[in-house]
C-alpha cells in the first residue's frame, strides 16, 4: 500500500462528550483495496471515530481528507456524497418499509419512484457479490443477518467506495460470518476500501490486511496484520502486557441452590429462544454462561428472575436454611422476593433496566427496598446510607449521592448497580455482561466483588462474552448455542478452542 494515495486521511481528530474525551488527536489512513481492522476495547472510541466519517458526529477539532481534498462531513448525506457508507451495529432500518424502500431511502433522483428499476438494480448488486435479498420483503419480517445484508446492499447501492462496518459479526452465526467475510473479500478485490470495527482478535487475523489499534481515544498502533500477532495486539489494546490473572478461589461447601429443568422459552413472535435447558447452580461457585450474543442468555436470566413468560420447564430455588424447594416459574419478581427467595440480578441493560438514569443514587438504591414496611411512605434514610456506603466501599466516582446516575461513567454506573444487588445478601446472584464497556480497573473491581460473593456461599451465574474471562473466573461454564445447552465444562481444565467450538456447533444447524 505504501506510496498510493489514501482514500481517507484523518488528522488530529478530537471529539469530546462533556468531560469524556472520546477521541484525542487521532490520525488514521484508509486505503483502497484493503481491509482495515479498527481494534480496541469497548469504549476506546472506535465507533465515535467512524461516526465522524459517516456524518453522525462532527469533530471538535481536526481535519478529514478524502482523496487528498479537505472535506467537512456534516451529515450522513455528505458522507454518502463522498462515497462513505457505514453499517451501524444497531441497524438503521425502518421496520414498516420494504428492503428496497430502505435501500433507496434518502437518495436523490426522479421524484416519482420506479420501484421496478430499483428492484432490478438491487438484484444486480446481489448477484455481483453473492447476497440474498428479497427487495419486497418488509424489514420486520427479517432475521438479523438478513437485515445486515440489507444494510450492506444499501451502502453499495449508493455507490459507496468506502465501507465501514461496526462490529458486524456480533449478531451472526459462524456460517453467516464466513459468508460475510467472503463478501467483504470480494469487495476488497473490487477495489473498495473496507473498515471493520471489532474487538475480536481472531477476526482481525482472519480478515484484515492492516490493523489500527485505539486505546482511550488515541491511535496506539498501526501495523500490517501479517507483521503482528494476538499477544502484541492485546498489549496495544490494553496498554500493558497482561495475562488476565483473575483470582479464582476454590469453591467451598457446594450445595445445589438453583435447579433449572427443561426450560423452554418463546418470544412474542413464537420464536423459540430457549429449548429444553437444564442445569444446576451450586452455592459457593461461579457458573459461567458462554455463547454467541443472542443465543438465549438474556431470556434464561429473565426467565429465572420472573420477567419472561415460560413455555414449559421448571426453575426450583433451594432455600439455604430449610432446604425446601421453591418453584419460581409463573411468579413475578415481586412474588419471588416475597417468598423469601434472595435472588439478585444485574441485567445487561444497566440504565434501561437495572437503574433509572434520571434518578439519583439514593432513589436507585430504593428500587429494591422501597416496599419495606407497612407505612404508605417510602423510607429514604436507609437507601441514602446504603448509597453512601456503596460509594465509599466500591470507590464510585461521583459528586455525591444526589447525582443522577446517567451522569456517571459506565464503570461507576455498574458499581452502583452491583453494589445495590449484593447489598441484599443474596443467595443467588445473576450477572449479564457485568464488565461490558468497563475499563480494566473497574472490571477487576467487579471480578473481586463477584469472587467475594462466591466465597460467602452465593451461587453466582455469570453471563459473559469474553471467553478468556470466563475461563479464568468461572468454576464451571455452561455453553449455550442457539438456545440449547451445548455442554457444561470445567472452567479450570477447559480449552478455549473447545468452548468456541461448542458455541458454534449447534448454532450451525439451528441458526438459520
Amino acid at each position: 500500500m505504501e506510496g498510493s494515495v489514501p482514500a481517507i486521511r484523518m488528522r488530529d481528530i478530537t471529539k469530546t462528550f462533556g468531560p469524556t474525551v472520546a477521541n484525542d488527536r487521532v490520525k488514521l489512513d484508509i486505503y483502497r483495496g484493503e481491509i482495515l481492522a479498527l481494534l480496541g476495547e469497548n469504549g476506546s472510541g472506535k465507533t465515535t471515530l467512524m461516526n465522524m466519517l459517516s456524518g453522525i458526529y462532527f469533530p471538535d477539532a481536526g481535519q478529514i481528507f478524502v482523496e487528498d481534498k479537505e472535506v467537512s462531513i456534516r451529515s450522513p448525506k455528505d458522507a454518502y456524497d463522498l462515497g462513505i457508507g457505514m453499517i451501524h451495529q444497531h441497524f438503521k432500518l425502518v421496520d414498516v418499509l420494504t428492503a428496497a424502500e430502505n435501500i433507496i431511502l434518502g437518495m436523490t433522483g426522479k421524484g416519482r419512484l420506479d420501484m421496478k428499476a430499483v428492484d432490478d438494480k438491487i438484484r444486480e448488486i446481489c448477484s455481483l457479490y453473492g447476497f440474498d435479498v428479497d427487495p419486497k420483503q418488509k424489514i420486520y419480517d427479517m432475521s438479523v443477518s438478513q437485515k445486515q445484508t440489507v444494510e450492506i446492499v444499501k451502502v453499495l447501492y449508493r455507490g459507496a467506495e468506502i465501507l465501514i462496518l461496526d462490529e458486524p459479526t456480533a449478531v451472526l452465526t459462524p456460517q453467516e460470518t464466513d459468508k460475510l467475510f467472503s463478501v467483504l473479500r470480494n469487495m476488497r478485490n473490487d477495489g473498495k476500501a473496507i473498515v471493520i470495527i471489532t474487538h475480536k482478535l481472531h477476526e482481525v487475523e482472519e480478515i484484515s490486511d492492516r490493523v489500527v489499534v485505539l486505546r482511550r481515544g488515541q491511535n496506539v498502533g498501526d501495523v500490517p496484520t501479517k507483521e503482528t500477532n494476538a499477544a502484541e495486539m492485546t498489549n496495544m489494546m490494553v496498554g500493558r502486557s497482561v495475562s488476565l490473572n483473575i483470582n479464582r478461589p476454590e469453591p467451598k461447601n457446594q450445595k445445589p441452590r438453583l435447579v433449572v429443568e427443561n426450560l423452554t422459552v418463546k418470544d412474542i413472535d413464537g420464536v423459540t429462544k430457549l429449548s429444553d435447558v437444564s442445569f444446576t447452580a451450586n452455592s459457593g461457585e461461579i457458573l459461567g454462561i458462554a455463547g454467541i450474543s443472542g443465543c438465549g442468555q438474556r431470556e434464561l436470566l429473565e426467565a429465572i428472575a420472573g420477567l419472561q413468560c415460560v413455555e414449559s420447564g421448571s426453575v426450583a430455588y433451594i432455600n439455604p436454611e430449610t432446604e425446601a424447594k421453591i418453584e419460581l416459574i409463573g411468579k413475578d419478581p415481586c412474588a419471588i422476593s416475597s417468598m423469601g427467595v434472595a435472588l439478585s440480578f444485574v441485567p445487561e441493560d444497566r440504565l434501561g433496566m437495572g437503574l433509572v438514569g434520571n434518578m439519583d443514587l439514593t432513589d436507585n438504591m430504593m428500587l429494591r427496598s422501597y416496599r419495606c414496611g407497612n407505612s404508605p411512605f417510602a423510607d429514604r434514610k436507609s437507601p441514602n446510607s446504603l448509597a453512601k456506603r456503596v460509594v465509599c466501599e466500591l470507590e464510585v466516582n461521583t459528586p455525591g449521592v444526589s447525582t443522577p446516575v446517567r451522569k456517571l461513567s459506565g464503570g461507576n454506573v455498574q458499581k452502583v448497580l452491583v453494589g445495590r444487588e449484593i447489598s441484599s445478601a443474596p443467595s443467588v446472584l445473576m450477572t449479564a455482561y457485568a464488565v461490558r464497556g468497563l475499563d480494566i480497573n473497574s472490571s477487576y473491581t467487579i471480578y473481586d466483588l463477584i469472587n467475594r460473593q462466591k466465597e460467602q456461599g452465593v451461587a453466582v451465574i455469570f453471563v459473559g462474552e469474553d471467553l478468556d474471562v470466563l475461563l479464568e473466573l468461572c468454576d464451571r461454564i455452561l455453553v449455550l448455542c442457539g438456545g440449547k445447552v451445548s455442554g457444561i465444562v470445567d472452567g479450570r481444565s477447559a480449552d478455549k478452542r473447545d468452548v468456541g467450538m461448542m458455541m458454534t456447533k449447534l448454532g450451525g444447524e439451528a441458526g438459520k
Binding site: F17, S54, I56, Y57, S75, P76, K77, Y80, M86, H88, K92, L93, V94, D95, V96, L97, E101, N102, I104, L105, G106, M107, T108, G109, K110, G111, R112, L113, K138, Y140, K154
Partner: protein
C-alpha cells in the same frame, strides 16, 4: 329519499371541512409531529381568508368573485402556514413538547380568530354581522357541468378539491421519493437521518404544508357552510378535533380519510334525520364520530397490525447528538 339525499349533502359539506383538516394532519403526523393545534390552525385559516375577502370587497367598488376567491385562498394559506411555522419552530428547533405546543396553538388560534372575527363584525356595523357575499358565492357555486346532478348540485369546488388533494397526498406518500423519505422520518428519524434525509427540513415542510391544508378546512367552513360570515360559536374547534379523530380513523391513510370524512359528516348530522328524538337524545347521537374513533383506536392497538399503527416516532422529539 329526499331525507337521505339531504343527509348525504350535509355529510359531504361537513365531511369536506373535516377532510381538509385531517389531510393536513396526516401529512404533519407522517413526519412524527403530533400537532394538536389543528383547530387553532383551522381558525387561523378561516379568519384570514374571511379578512382578506372582507378587505378586498370593502375596498373594491365592484368586487370580482374570482379575485376575491384567490385572495381569500392566499390569505388563508398564508395564515395557516404561519401557524404551522410557529409550531415547527417551537417543537423542532426549540424542542418544546409537542402536545403542549399544539394545545397552545389551539388557544392562540381560536383567540386570534374570534378576536378579529368579533372585531370585524363590529366594523361591519349595522346588523353586526360581516358578510362577503361575492367571494362566498364563488366558493359555493356548483361546478357548471354538475348543475342539477342530484346531490352534487349545490356543492362548491372545494369539495372536489379536497378529494383531489387526498389522492395527491396518497400518491405523494406512497409513490414518490419524497413521500418515502417523509414516512421514514415519522417512523424512525435517526434512520432517515443516517440515510441522508434532512429530518429537520422534512418536519418543517410537512408541518407547514400540512397546516396550510388544514387551514383550508377553516376557510371552507367560513365561506361555504356559514356563507362568508363569522360566528364566535366554536364550530370550527369542534370540526378541528373531529379532524384529529379522523386521522386515527383513517389509520393515517389519505384515501381512507375520504370516505371516513363523509361518514363522520353523516354521523354528525344523523340525529337530524332520525325521527322521534328528543333534543337531549340528539346530543347523544353527536357522540358517534368520537365513539367510532375510540373503537378504531382500540381495535388497531389490539390487532397490532404493523401497517395500521401510528408513525412510530409520533410525538417524540429528535435530536441527533442526544446521548
Amino acid at each position: 329519499m329526499t331525507q337521505a339525499l339531504s343527509l348525504l349533502q350535509a355529510a359531504l359539506v361537513f365531511g369536506t371541512v373535516i377532510l381538509f383538516g385531517a389531510l393536513g394532519e396526516i401529512l404533519t403526523e407522517k413526519s412524527g409531529n403530533l400537532n394538536l393545534g389543528v383547530p387553532g390552525i383551522m381558525y387561523l385559516g378561516g379568519i384570514a381568508g374571511l379578512a382578506g375577502a372582507f378587505w378586498y370587497e370593502s375596498a373594491a367598488a365592484s368586487p370580482n368573485a374570482l379575485l376575491g376567491l384567490l385572495i381569500a385562498l392566499a390569505c388563508s394559506v398564508a395564515a395557516a402556514t404561519l401557524g404551522g411555522l410557529i409550531y415547527s419552530f417551537l417543537t423542532i428547533t426549540l424542542r418544546a413538547n409537542q402536545n403542549v405546543t399544539g394545545l397552545t396553538l389551539t388557544i392562540f388560534g381560536s383567540g386570534v380568530a374570534n378576536l378579529f372575527g368579533g372585531d370585524m363584525n363590529k366594523m361591519a356595523g349595522g346588523v353586526g354581522q360581516i358578510s362577503v357575499a361575492t367571494t362566498s358565492g364563488a366558493f359555493r357555486d356548483t361546478l357548471p357541468f354538475l348543475n342539477g346532478v342530484g346531490v352534487l348540485s349545490g356543492l362548491g369546488f372545494m369539495v372536489y378539491f379536497a378529494i383531489i388533494l387526498a389522492i395527491i397526498a396518497s400518491y405523494f406518500l406512497n409513490r414518490t421519493r419524497k413521500g418515502l423519505n417523509l414516512r421514514a422520518v415519522g417512523e424512525n428519524p435517526a434512520t432517515a437521518d443516517a440515510g441522508g434525509v434532512s429530518v429537520t427540513r422534512y418536519k418543517y415542510l410537512a408541518t407547514c404544508v400540512g397546516a396550510a391544508v388544514s387551514g383550508l378546512g377553516g376557510l371552507y367552513y367560513v365561506m361555504d357552510y356559514i356563507k362568508g360570515t363569522w360566528a364566535n360559536d366554536g364550530g370550527i374547534a369542534n370540526l378541528g378535533w373531529l379532524a384529529v379523530a379522523l386521522v386515527i380513523f383513517a389509520r393515517w391513510k389519505p384515501l381512507q380519510a375520504i370516505w371516513g370524512s363523509y361518514l363522520f359528516g353523516a354521523l354528525f348530522w344523523l340525529y337530524f334525520y332520525i325521527p322521534g328524538l328528543t333534543r337531549s337524545s340528539q346530543e347523544l347521537f353527536k357522540m358517534l364520530p368520537y365513539i367510532v374513533t375510540i373503537i378504531v383506536l382500540i381495535v388497531v392497538s389490539m390487532r397490532k397490525k404493523r401497517e395500521n399503527q401510528p408513525p412510530a416516532s409520533l410525538g417524540l422529539p429528535y435530536f441527533r447528538e442526544e446521548r
